[in-house]
Symmetry: D5
Subunit: 163 residues, 10 copies
Amino acid sequence: MSQSLRVNATSEPYADLPPMCVALLEAKAKKGATFDQIAKAIGRDEVWVAAMFYGQAKLSDEELAKLSHFLEIPHDSLAAELGANWWPRRGLGPMPPTDPVLYRLYEGVLVYGNAIKAVIHEKFGDGIMSMIDCKVNIERKPDPKGDRVLLIFDGKFLPYLKW
Amino acid sequence: MSQSLRVNATSEPYADLPPMCVALLEAKAKKGATFDQIAKAIGRDEVWVAAMFYGQAKLSDEELAKLSHFLEIPHDSLAAELGANWWPRRGLGPMPPTDPVLYRLYEGVLVYGNAIKAVIHEKFGDGIMSMIDCKVNIERKPDPKGDRVLLIFDGKFLPYLKW
Amino acid sequence: MSQSLRVNATSEPYADLPPMCVALLEAKAKKGATFDQIAKAIGRDEVWVAAMFYGQAKLSDEELAKLSHFLEIPHDSLAAELGANWWPRRGLGPMPPTDPVLYRLYEGVLVYGNAIKAVIHEKFGDGIMSMIDCKVNIERKPDPKGDRVLLIFDGKFLPYLKW
Amino acid sequence: MSQSLRVNATSEPYADLPPMCVALLEAKAKKGATFDQIAKAIGRDEVWVAAMFYGQAKLSDEELAKLSHFLEIPHDSLAAELGANWWPRRGLGPMPPTDPVLYRLYEGVLVYGNAIKAVIHEKFGDGIMSMIDCKVNIERKPDPKGDRVLLIFDGKFLPYLKW
Amino acid sequence: MSQSLRVNATSEPYADLPPMCVALLEAKAKKGATFDQIAKAIGRDEVWVAAMFYGQAKLSDEELAKLSHFLEIPHDSLAAELGANWWPRRGLGPMPPTDPVLYRLYEGVLVYGNAIKAVIHEKFGDGIMSMIDCKVNIERKPDPKGDRVLLIFDGKFLPYLKW
Amino acid sequence: MSQSLRVNATSEPYADLPPMCVALLEAKAKKGATFDQIAKAIGRDEVWVAAMFYGQAKLSDEELAKLSHFLEIPHDSLAAELGANWWPRRGLGPMPPTDPVLYRLYEGVLVYGNAIKAVIHEKFGDGIMSMIDCKVNIERKPDPKGDRVLLIFDGKFLPYLKW
Amino acid sequence: MSQSLRVNATSEPYADLPPMCVALLEAKAKKGATFDQIAKAIGRDEVWVAAMFYGQAKLSDEELAKLSHFLEIPHDSLAAELGANWWPRRGLGPMPPTDPVLYRLYEGVLVYGNAIKAVIHEKFGDGIMSMIDCKVNIERKPDPKGDRVLLIFDGKFLPYLKW
Amino acid sequence: MSQSLRVNATSEPYADLPPMCVALLEAKAKKGATFDQIAKAIGRDEVWVAAMFYGQAKLSDEELAKLSHFLEIPHDSLAAELGANWWPRRGLGPMPPTDPVLYRLYEGVLVYGNAIKAVIHEKFGDGIMSMIDCKVNIERKPDPKGDRVLLIFDGKFLPYLKW
Amino acid sequence: MSQSLRVNATSEPYADLPPMCVALLEAKAKKGATFDQIAKAIGRDEVWVAAMFYGQAKLSDEELAKLSHFLEIPHDSLAAELGANWWPRRGLGPMPPTDPVLYRLYEGVLVYGNAIKAVIHEKFGDGIMSMIDCKVNIERKPDPKGDRVLLIFDGKFLPYLKW
Amino acid sequence: MSQSLRVNATSEPYADLPPMCVALLEAKAKKGATFDQIAKAIGRDEVWVAAMFYGQAKLSDEELAKLSHFLEIPHDSLAAELGANWWPRRGLGPMPPTDPVLYRLYEGVLVYGNAIKAVIHEKFGDGIMSMIDCKVNIERKPDPKGDRVLLIFDGKFLPYLKW
């Protein structure tokens, strides 16, 4: 599905991201590559790569070089904007999300949050599931009644420190 | 860990729930039962049961009878508050959540939401992961560096209708 | 499905409604009546009746008498709370709604609002669809792929006055 | 009513949409076409087309080609901004809406939301009316006391999954 | 239209008012008196009296005595709650108002506010229309196409002090 | 008071209006005309004209031609931005207003809103004062203690439809 | 002006204060004392005393004893609620204030805040006026055109520490 | 301390002010003048002048001419932006203020607002301190323990009109 | 400083805590014990103990027994409310805090947050300081110019997981 | 780690800062200097320097000269933007922070704020920890289980003035 893409760089959420993020999305479209193909090229998972495309993760020097090569983006430009001296400012609003895809995730917290908290405490004790030491995966699960999205958070349990 | 529990029924989130929800939590503590044990007794999953304890799911008549029996709560009281004529008012605030366990889930949306949206569109097209036709599961994944929480949303993909 | 119902009158949205609203819901459950049956008994539509149960519409003296008779609620109590001297305080929060049923309606405004505005202007000119001189109806439309909800707003077009 | 239109592209809601959306509105004005005429040209309904003009729906390749032809907009530009690699970011604020046309829809949720929820539950059980598998139609209903707007949401009922 | 009225004193806006406000409304209903009749009895205007019933204006000792006499409310109770030692806490939320009657006034500010500001400046210079030295009147203006509400604010112009 | 005016077009509220609105204000200043003089030239009232200058009302073709002539603004430019294909997006924030002139109007709703609602219901029954079928007028009322602003809303009463 | 006062203790701002605050206001009214008379009795200023009546300042043991004596409130009750083990939770909402007296102060910050900041920096350098080491006084200044309120904040300048 | 100053005109609060405000601040810095020196040159007080620099006050023609002369800013430019046809849009956000100097003023309202209201009512009756007919002064009060800021609001008392 | 304390249990923040929290504070006052003395009695730090008094930390069974003994509170009551079956709902609003002590901490984030983030990244790389695996200590540091508060957060650095 | 950095100057938080702040960050990256090295060059601490890079602190003339020299930025440009005539507008939103590093600090206030307040009052009496006369330090504390961040606020205690 290689084809061009032109993003309104001054619209949300792009306006608050390094301009390189728009360039990455446009390069990906031009190449017709999926997140998974890019992920394989740099040795990461597709969701992590997508997060990085939205300025939510930080490339190592090596990953940056591979990405530059794969998407044919000049290494210097990429390094200047997303390299060693850049740190992600994470969190992309608005909240509550207006987009229905995002809102459903938010609704998951709203409706099942207390249940999740109760079960985590019951199974692990007083603490949290880390969102820092956490992997996020998405899988397509075939189903005759309509395929399903498996969205998996795999986060370390962190017990509350007492002092 | 059978032991008593006394909940402040006028505090959040209990103040906006049927009083029976507090009674359920107290009965569970008295019995020393886990959500999983209750779930097995009524033929459901532990997270779904926990959600129901917080007024976020609706029991069938049969499930209600089993729950009444298992937790030794009078069937009439249970049916009057959570039975056929009651419908859940879903969604328990505040948002953003102040509790760190809940906040981490919210942060998951804030940080990884756009990446999840991008990957869902790439894999499924224009549509959403349903939060209605959706199961939520929590598993404990042993890990020598600290056990991990697997939080899994398994929701049907719903393509956008065009007309 | 006649059965008892006990509502937490100090929870939302009941806390901000006349206590009679809770009594109406409980009487309806006790009688096992549908909104449509009540509507027929007082000569109104089911959605209007449901709105009145939530304090969003005002009964005439005649309707009040019929309602009192049908639900076996003392006329004096009903008249004192919802009679001639009472005026609805319309609008039941919170907004954005946390309940998914309500949120989907809100999402309809968020996603299709501008399109609806554009088509109304194209078809009618500068003005609005009245939400005062407006009927709301809900119909069940059978469909082999899953029955559908028809939600119909039938509101008078009001052109903007110029002066 | 063919005539020119010049939109302030940096004002809301255009600032957060692909620039092509402004071009579509200006091309429509230049051609003097109605949403319905455009809809017929691409094989869709007028409200869906209006939604697409505000970045809330996604064209197929075939629809895009027809739209390009009908409005005489270069295919490449249209495809680059609204084509295969673009996904709608749905939801156009602010909420509550300040425009009276939009606000009346919002007021519909505020005033009749609980009634609609109650009737849906009574008729369908525990679940929601989908806003994804949903059509929206607007019809002009002549009335001697002033014509009326029929606004119809036709959405699939989705029962809550239990697990 | 003499008839009883029973107000939910713990609902908004009554919960944040002196309990006497509810008593006043109930006494008014019992007597079947209009705001205008009460106003004449104490020598004030009907809108001012209505404002006072909602805790937004302060009675003089003489007015309080007349009100006590007219509505047959014990003078001591009235004086203890609304007398010399009580000062109004003005302003009754929520904002934006959810009730359509109140919202239309709010919409008046939203839509015509800048125009009103521009005309006031043009006619009076730099300053404001006082909302303290201000009378509010409501008149019914008969009209064959439907009677009209005349809502009149008559406020002193206050020029900005320069120093 | 003919004199030049230069408005910061990217500041609020101008940023969200058609650029022509700034041009109108600057042309008015250059001509030294009052809103009333413009109103007479196009056959409307001064407050309506001021509202139109802030993008809150829609000109007919004839009014647009007269305005173009009176303010010496090219007809084509005016028609492209505010003509037949343009529809007002009404409502200019922020709310609560920060400007004291606007805030006093808002305070009028906050302090006298419930009183106004109560008196409207008493005089007219269940319904609202329309803000669509509504005229707004401002008059200067001489007063030896300081001239007064008469701000008059003349809106049709709309009874709530029952169905 | 000795007279009784009965405060709605569950209304704002009293609901979030120690119940003794209501008792203090009622005792003050009963005694017919002004804040200034109480201030003299305990050796403080009237504004400080008023602040303490609203839970915004802390009495020393000696002041508490004098207050108990002057207002004839049992020393033990006073000490239990406002004594050594109690610490003020300062700040009484809502913000923006809805009451016009409070709002005008807020408007002072909104309109003159930047000017005050600019002049403080010019006269004192980089730092702030302390609101902790600060006295607040109110004086009545006679004026033939209407008496004036002198509201004086006398706060220590605190230069920003550099390290 | 004559020196250059370059302000980011698109940052807050400058973005919502006439561009001339930035020019005034830069001209003041270039000249090395204090607000007091400018005030003396145009016959006003320093706080008023600072307020005018932030678009919160309106110059007379004569003051404008003097300001133009003193700061060596072309009269025409100044008149076009801040002259007879310009009216202040007062109020500069955000609220609550994030800057500590402004926040302390806001905190003054939050902590001492109710006390100030109570004392004003006790001394003056039912009414407000005007923020329109109000002077604001700042004085430096020497103190061996650290100099103090005297911030004085001198506003006319406005009694509530009754009608 | 042994003395009684009576807390308004329905005021914030107590209303949303287990009632036992109020009992703990009252028992502490009665005993005249400091947080440090209680901390020593149960083998924890004073800040952790204070956090637990506000429902923000969870006691082990052993700590609960010691606390019960030290403060002479019946073990059963304590265990029922704060024991094994209770889990903290952390986070006590409002935000921004209105109390000046809390606001200064909030201001620390507002003013120094970005600097802290920048230095953490520079010293540790991409990750966060854990607020779960974190100790908080407060020390009094004597200083001739006024004693100082040392507030120390000692939190584990958590690097962002990549996957 | 000398390397280039290119910051999106129109994204947050840079958009509301003097453009020089971006230049400082880019110069720092180019030089490959740490905040600590810059701090040593101008005689300040690294956190203070980082705060200054984000527009939250004010350089003296001497510090400015040293900074200009060390980072090879023209003195005039630096002085014009951050010199004597510039005053910090402190506070960089949004709040609650969306970035996890900042949010954890905010969570510290949310979870431990009341405990910190309670201990400060117990140890120091009625007053606050100053955030103006306050140093902030960050140290890396080695730990075999993962190094720790020591974040230290060292602020003067300010007792509440009574008057």
